[in-house]
Symmetry: C2
Subunit: 235 residues, 2 copies
DNA sequence: GATTGTAGTGATGTTAACATTACGACATGG
DNA sequence: CCATGTCGTAATGTTAACATCACTACAATC
């Protein structure tokens, strides 16, 4: 975030980006529940813009997997089934595997410091929603440190869905989440800083497994070896 | 392609999809070289549609990584640098790794038969461009057999770029490409059908390495062990 | 003479009106 | 009473005109 010496390219964003951000935040805030319809006229009226930018924003949210749309049937907020969550888990596992290797191989010390800062912010989180935001921000930092544009884009394609997934998690057990998660990320940073690939990969895997288990019901958070999330029950 | 018993949902596509297909094909045909500008008015005039669908199509192509666009600066055809190719190789390696495991675990016999058919079509390819199309189609079939929506989407996000990459390859050595590649895919199908994970993963890795080596210059196509493409020289 | 200010131009961004489509309600016929 | 056909409505798809922006060339100033 706060780089020193280098100036940000100072890009100017269009209305579509703004609209996409607002709608995304509205979804995460619960204004639009999963399965709800996102009508173009309604959004354009509420945000006081024309339907063009709204259309473009919806297309962008579709790219993020936050929204599904069909021909002449409009856009609806994505509803995550159990197979969806399994897909997210396995794909995220594969992407993170590459990301961690990249970080250990090529990341600068500043990059890892940025990850550390993201982990710091988690401890100041009071609210469940805020904790989720910090969690996502942490992984954002990891992918940023990987210095791999396409990998980062692949992460952004599921990022919002993971956000949605974590949001349902805090409904299940917010107390446990708020307590244990910060420490978990701390150890991730330690492994990353030590450039210990094996340990880091292992920790990231168990980290994902914790989140995954809460929603699937199996509550034995220990007794985890190294099977990874590499499998998806087919439809 | 030709499923029996099940009927296709009979979707109706919009103009934007049509435009995206045309422009994509035009890029692959060399009408628009890498780095060329894609002007909205020019395209809308040539295809006899308004700028709306063109805009939407360009957004779609940007999602596929075939096009890059900046604010008020329009869209240009992506130019692949060496680091881009390295990124594509590593990300594709990771995705294919998951795909192969998924196929071996969950694919039906019909799915593998479809992959087999795709491999068949390669032997009838006479032209370099056609061979590339078959090559891509083969991998499409593999990802389809994986039965993993988000994995398939992640592949589609780099699919066109890989296509572009393979296109530059046939410029380097079309003869060798046309001869050896079909056999290579044959053995991939055999390993998949036998559900032999280790062999399949190995073969897919060397398959990627062949394509990668031709463009990077190192011409020792043998002496390949199992280092995988798991690394990217950072920028 | 190099730098800075300033229009011109050609593109993209945005808007509002028009066309087309899908879905549901209702009526009609078997 | 169920099935089929028709119509209305409310949304999306498409279009063309308008507004804004970035780049270039040129001129004025120091």
């Amino acid at each position: 975030m706060s780089e020193q010496g280098t100036v940000t390219p100072a890009r100017r964003r269009g209305l579509a980006d703004e609209v996409a951000d607002r709608v995304r935040e509205a979804i995460f805030s619960g204004v639009y529940a999963p399965g709800a319809q996102l009508r173009e006229v309604e959004l354009s009226g509420a945000l006081d813009v024309s339907r063009g930018p709204v259309r473009e924003a919806l297309l962008r949210l579709e790219r993020e997997g936050l929204v599904r749309s069909a021909w002449h049937r409009g856009a609806t907020v994505t509803t995550l089934t159990s197979t969806d969550i399994a897909e997210l888990d396995s794909l995220r596992g594969t992407l993170e595997h590459l990301a961690v290797r990249q970080v250990i191989a090529h990341a600068s010390d500043e990059d890892i410091a940025a990850i550390d800062k993201a982990a710091d912010r988690m401890e100041r989180a009071v609210d469940g929603h805020e904790m989720v935001r910090c969690d996502i921000a942490f992984h954002d930092a990891v992918y940023a440190a990987a210095r791999h544009r396409r990998l980062q884009e692949a992460w952004q394609a599921i990022r919002s869905q993971v956000h949605l997934f974590l949001l349902t998690r805090i409904g299940a057990d917010s107390a446990d989440y708020l307590d244990h998660i910060p420490d978990e990320h701390r150890s991730l940073v330690v492994a990353l800083r030590a450039r210990d690939a094996a340990t880091a990969l292992d920790l990231f895997a168990t980290h994902r497994r914790h989140a995954f288990d809460v929603l699937t019901g199996s509550d034995d958070s220990d007794s985890v070896e190294e099977p990874g999330p590499q499998d998806t029950p087919s439809s």
